[in-house]
C-alpha cells in the first residue's frame, strides 16, 4: 500500500507536469504561421475562404504564387504545398479544410511529382507533424490508418511529448521567442526561392537535359492514394486539376506525356483534368529556375500566371 502511494505520488504529478508542457508546446505550434504548422493552422482554423487550393510537395510550395493566381483569376487562392508531401498528407489537409466552417473551394490543384507512381515506402511524410492536431477528425480518420502514433496521442495526450521529436519542440518555441515569425516573402503558404543563379553543379554545366517520359512505374498503393484524393474532390463537387509543372529542359520534346496510362483511368473515372507543362517554352529559360524542378521567384510568378489561365479554362 505504501509503495502504491509512493508510485502514485510520483506518477500523478509527472503526468500533470507533462500535460502542462504539452499544452505549452501545442499552443506554440498553433501560433505558427509558416511551414507545415502555418499552413495547417490557416486551413483548419482560419475563417478565410479560398476558391482555389493548391496541394503538393516542394514543387507546389516553391513554384506557385497565389497572389499572381488571384490577380489573374480574380479568385482567392491558397498554397497548401508542404515539403515532401504526397497524396495522403494532402488528403488530410484537404479534408481538414472541408471539415472546418469554410465554404468549399471551387477548384483544387494538385501539383504532381514527375515520378508520382513510384512507391514511397511511407504514406504519411512526417507523422509527428500531425500529432498536435490528433483531435481534429479529418486528421484522425485518415492519419490513424497509417500511423499508430496518432491514435496514442489522441487518447493519451500526456505521452504526446515523448512522441514529439526535437524539431516539433523547437518549432513550438519560435512564436514565443520570435514574435515576427512570418518568414520573409512567405505568404498564402507560398515560399519563393529568391535569386536566379542555379546552384547545383550538375545543373550549372548541363547541356543536354530533357524531360523524361513517364517512368512506367505505377505502384498500386500510389494509384489508390491518388484515387482517394480524387474521390474527396468528386464527392464534394470540387474541380480537380492534376498539374505537371515546368521543369528545366534544354530541348522541348513534344512527344513527352507524363500522364502515365494508369493515370488516364483515374482521370476518366473521376472527371479530373490534367495540365502538363512539359512543352512550355518556359522550360528552356534557365533564368526561371533554381534547379531542375524548382522555379525561382521570377519563374514562379510566370508559371503561376500560366496556371491561373489554365485554371480559369478548367474551371469553366
Amino acid at each position: 500500500m505504501r509503495l502504491l502511494k509512493y508510485i502514485l505520488s510520483v506518477i500523478l504529478p509527472t503526468f500533470a507536469l507533462s500535460y502542462l508542457a504539452l499544452l505549452f508546446v501545442n499552443s506554440g505550434l498553433k501560433k505558427q504561421q509558416n511551414d507545415f504548422f502555418g499552413t495547417f493552422n490557416h486551413i483548419a482554423d482560419n475563417s478565410d475562404k479560398h476558391d482555389i487550393l493548391i496541394f503538393g510537395a516542394s514543387i507546389a510550395k516553391n513554384n506557385i504564387n497565389p497572389r499572381v493566381i488571384d490577380s489573374v483569376s480574380g479568385k482567392s487562392s491558397f498554397n497548401c504545398g508542404i515539403y515532401g508531401f504526397g497524396f495522403v498528407d494532402s488528403k488530410i489537409l484537404l479534408e481538414s479544410y472541408l471539415h472546418s466552417p469554410h465554404p468549399k473551394p471551387t477548384t483544387v490543384v494538385y501539383v504532381m511529382q514527375p515520378d508520382w507512381g513510384r512507391p514511397r515506402g511511407h504514406e504519411i511524410t512526417y507523422a509527428p507533424q500531425f500529432y498536435p492536431y490528433a483531435s481534429n477528425n479529418a486528421v484522425y480518420e485518415t492519419g490513424s490508418k497509417y500511423d499508430d502514433g496518432i491514435k496514442l496521442v489522441k487518447y493519451l495526450p500526456f505521452v504526446a511529448l515523448s512522441k514529439y521529436n526535437d524539431h516539433l519542440k523547437y518549432s513550438s518555441l519560435i512564436p514565443f521567442v520570435k514574435k515576427d515569425h512570418l518568414r520573409k516573402g512567405n505568404y498564402l503558404g507560398y515560399e519563393p526561392i529568391y535569386g536566379t543563379v542555379m546552384n547545383l553543379k550538375r545543373f550549372e554545366n548541363a547541356t543536354n537535359i530533357i524531360i523524361e517520359k513517364d517512368s512506367k512505374e505505377t505502384s498500386p498503393v500510389q494509384q489508390n492514394n491518388l484515387e482517394d484524393f480524387c474521390k474527396v474532390c468528386t464527392d464534394n463537387n470540387i474541380k480537380l486539376l492534376l498539374v505537371f509543372p515546368c521543369s528545366y529542359t534544354t530541348k522541348i520534346d513534344t512527344t513527352v506525356d507524363r500522364s502515365f496510362p494508369a493515370l488516364h483511368k483515374i482521370v476518366d473515372k473521376y472527371n479530373v483534368s490534367i495540365v502538363d507543362y512539359a512543352n512550355s517554352e518556359m522550360n528552356m529559360v534557365k533564368s526561371n529556375f533554381f534547379d531542375l524542378y524548382h522555379l525561382n521567384n521570377i519563374g514562379a510568378d510566370k508559371f503561376s500566371e500560366l496556371l491561373a489561365k489554365d485554371i480559369l479554362k478548367g474551371a469553366n
Partner: protein
C-alpha cells in the same frame, strides 16, 4: 531484451511481482527462466553458448575444490579458462586474427586459405565469460566454495539485470544472495526504482540524444571544422558515460528492487583528476577484475623487477583490456594509450605531487580534470571509430577548416538539441554531485526533495527522452 523497450516495461514488473509472490525455494527457477527469456530476445540460439560455459565451469568448480593438490587444481583451472577463452576466441577474435593473418600472408605474397566465420558476436559474451572465469579462479584460490546447486550457479552467470553488460560480479558477492531469502523491503524497492529512473534518464535523455549529434559528425566528418569535431569527441565521452552508467544503474536498481545487491560500477569518473583515479571510478567491475586476476598476480610474480614490473604490468593489462572491448586494432590502441598514460602517472607521481603544492589547489585540480577529460575524449576517438582509417580521419579533422561558419555548423547539428544536451548534462552533474549516483542517502534526510527529484526526472524522460529503442553501446562487447 533491451531495458529501454516496451517488452521490459511488461517483463520487469511481472518478474518482480512473481518473485515476491513465490516461495523462496522456487525463486531461483523463476529468475533463471526470466533470464533465459531476457537473453533469448536477442538471438535465442546463443543461449547454448552460455549453457556450454555454465556446464564446464560448474563441474570445473566442483572438481577444483575436490582436487587434492595445488598442481591438480591449477590444471583443472587451466582447462576451465581455456574453455572460456576458447569461446571468446572463436566468437569474438577468430575473424580478427584471421584478417590479420590475411594481411600478413598477402604482404609475403601468399593467399590465406583459412575461411572466415559468418557468425554474429553473441551479445554480452565478454561480460558473462569473465564472470564465469572469476568463479573458477576464486575457487582455485580458496576464496569461494564450489556451488553445488546447478540452478543457482547457472543463475549466477545468467542473472538478467547484469547478463549482457555487467557489472561483472564476483561469486563471493552474488552466490550467497541467491540462497538467502529476500523479503519485500519498501526502502530497497523505492531506492531501486529511483536508481532505475536515473539510469533511464541518462540513457534516454542524454546518451541517445547525444548519439544523434555524434553519429552525424562521424558520418560526415568532412563537412565539419576542427572545433565541431572536437565538440563531437567530447560529447561522445558524455554519451558513453551516460549510456553505460545508465545501463549499470538500471541493472543495479532492478536487482535492488528484488532485494539483491549488485556492485557499484561507476562513481562519477568524469570528475577524476588523473587517469589512475578515472579507472578506479569507471567500469569498476572490469577494472577490479583486471586488477585482481591480471595486473596484481603479474606484478607480484615479477616483484623482483621493481618498477619495471609495474610498467610492464600496466601496459599489458590495459592492452588486453582494450582488446577485451572489441576485436580490432582501434580497441588495442585505445587500451594501449590508457596504459601509456597510466605508466606516465606512475612514474611522475612524485613530480606531480610537488607540482600540486606549488600551484593553487583550484587551478591545479581544474586543469588536471580538464586535461584528463581531453585525454579521455581523445582516446575515445579510437573506441568510437569503426576502423583505423576513420580514427585517423577524425584526428586529422580536428584541425580541419570549413567553408561554413561555426554557427552554421551548429545550426546543422541542431541548436535546440545541443542546448537541451548542455542543460541535461548540467542537471546530471548537479544531481550526481548532490545526491551520489545511487541516491540512497537523500531519502533518509529529505524525502520531499527526493520525491521532487523523481517527479522532475520522470517528467524530463517523458518530455525529452528519445524513444527509438537504441541499443546500449556495451552490448557489442
Amino acid at each position: 531484451m533491451l531495458f529501454n523497450s516496451l517488452d521490459f516495461l511488461i517483463f520487469f514488473p511481472l518478474v518482480t511481482l512473481l518473485f515476491f509472490l513465490l516461495p523462496h525455494k522456487f525463486r531461483w527457477s523463476l529468475l533463471l527462466t526470466a533470464s533465459c527469456i531476457f537473453y533469448m530476445f536477442f538471438k535465442p540460439v546463443y543461449i547454448l553458448i552460455i549453457f556450454f560455459t555454465i556446464i564446464i565451469d560448474y563441474f570445473a568448480g566442483i572438481y577444483i575444490e575436490r582436487a587434492a593438490t595445488p598442481e591438480k587444481k591449477r590444471k583443472l583451472l587451466i582447462i576451465s579458462l581455456i574453455a572460456n577463452i576458447g569461446v571468446l576466441a572463436v566468437f569474438k577474435y577468430y575473424n580478427f586474427l584471421n584478417s590479420n593473418l590475411d594481411g600478413l600472408l598477402s604482404v609475403m605474397g601468399y593467399s590465406n586459405p583459412i575461411p572466415y566465420l559468418k557468425i554474429l558476436l553473441p551479445i554480452g559474451l565478454s561480460f558473462h565469460t569473465f564472470q564465469a572465469m572469476s568463479y573458477t579462479i576464486e575457487i582455485s584460490r580458496g576464496n569461494q566454495k564450489a556451488e553445488k546447486h546447478f540452478g543457482i550457479y547457472a543463475l549466477y552467470v545468467m542473472f538478467y539485470p547484469q547478463l549482457v553488460a555487467g557489472p561483472i560480479e564476483r561469486p563471493q558477492n552474488m552466490l550467497h544472495q541467491f540462497h538467502e531469502k529476500q523479503n519485500f523491503n519498501y526502502e530497497l524497492m523505492v531506492s531501486g526504482l529511483r536508481l532505475m529512473l536515473w539510469g533511464f534518464f541518462k540513457k534516454l535523455v542524454i546518451a541517445d540524444r547525444i548519439s544523434l549529434v555524434v553519429d552525424e559528425i562521424y558520418r560526415n566528418t568532412g563537412s565539419y571544422s576542427g572545433p565541431i569535431i572536437i565538440l563531437g569527441c567530447m560529447l561522445f565521452t558524455f554519451q558513453i558515460y551516460c549510456d553505460f552508467s545508465g545501463y549499470s544503474d538500471i541493472a543495479v536498481g532492478s536487482a535492488r528492487v528484488m532485494g539483491l545487491k549488485l556492485m557499484k560500477n561507476f562513481d562519477r569518473p568524469l570528475i577524476s583528476k588523473n587517469l589512475t583515479e578515472f579507472w578506479r571510478r569507471w567500469h569498476i567491475s572490469l577494472s577490479s577484475w583486471f586488477n585482481d586476476y591480471v595486473y596484481t598476480p603479474f606484478v607480484l610474480a615479477k616483484r623482483d623487477w621493481g618498477k619495471v614490473a609495474v610498467v610492464i604490468g600496466l601496459f599489458l593489462t590495459f592492452s588486453i583490456s582494450g582488446l577485451w572491448h572489441g576485436a580490432g586494432w582501434t580497441f588495442v590502441i585505445y587500451g594501449t594509450l590508457n596504459g601509456i598514460v597510466l605508466i606516465y602517472e606512475f612514474l611522475s607521481k612524485k613530480f606531480r605531487k610537488n607540482l600540486s603544492k606549488k600551484i593553487p589547489g583550484l587551478i591545479y585540480n581544474t586543469s588536471s580534470n580538464l586535461l584528463l577529460f581531453l585525454f579521455v575524449s581523445f582516446s575515445y576517438i579510437f573506441f568510437r571509430s569503426s576502423d583505423m582509417h576513420t580514427a585517423i580521419t577524425m584526428i586529422k579533422s580536428c584541425v580541419h577548416p570549413s567553408s561554413h561558419s561555426i554557427m552554421e555548423q551548429l545550426q546543422n547539428l541542431g541548436l535546440f538539441p545541443l542546448f537541451i544536451i548542455f542543460i541535461m548534462i548540467v542537471y546530471m552533474h548537479f544531481i550526481e554531485r548532490k545526491f551520489e549516483s545511487g541516491i540512497p542517502k537523500m531519502d533518509l534526510q529529505k524525502p520531499s526533495l527526493e520525491r521532487i527529484f523523481s517527479i522532475v526526472t520522470l517528467t524530463l524522460i517523458i518530455t525529452l527522452g528519445i524513444f527509438n529503442q537504441q541499443s546500449f553501446i556495451y552490448f557489442q562487447f
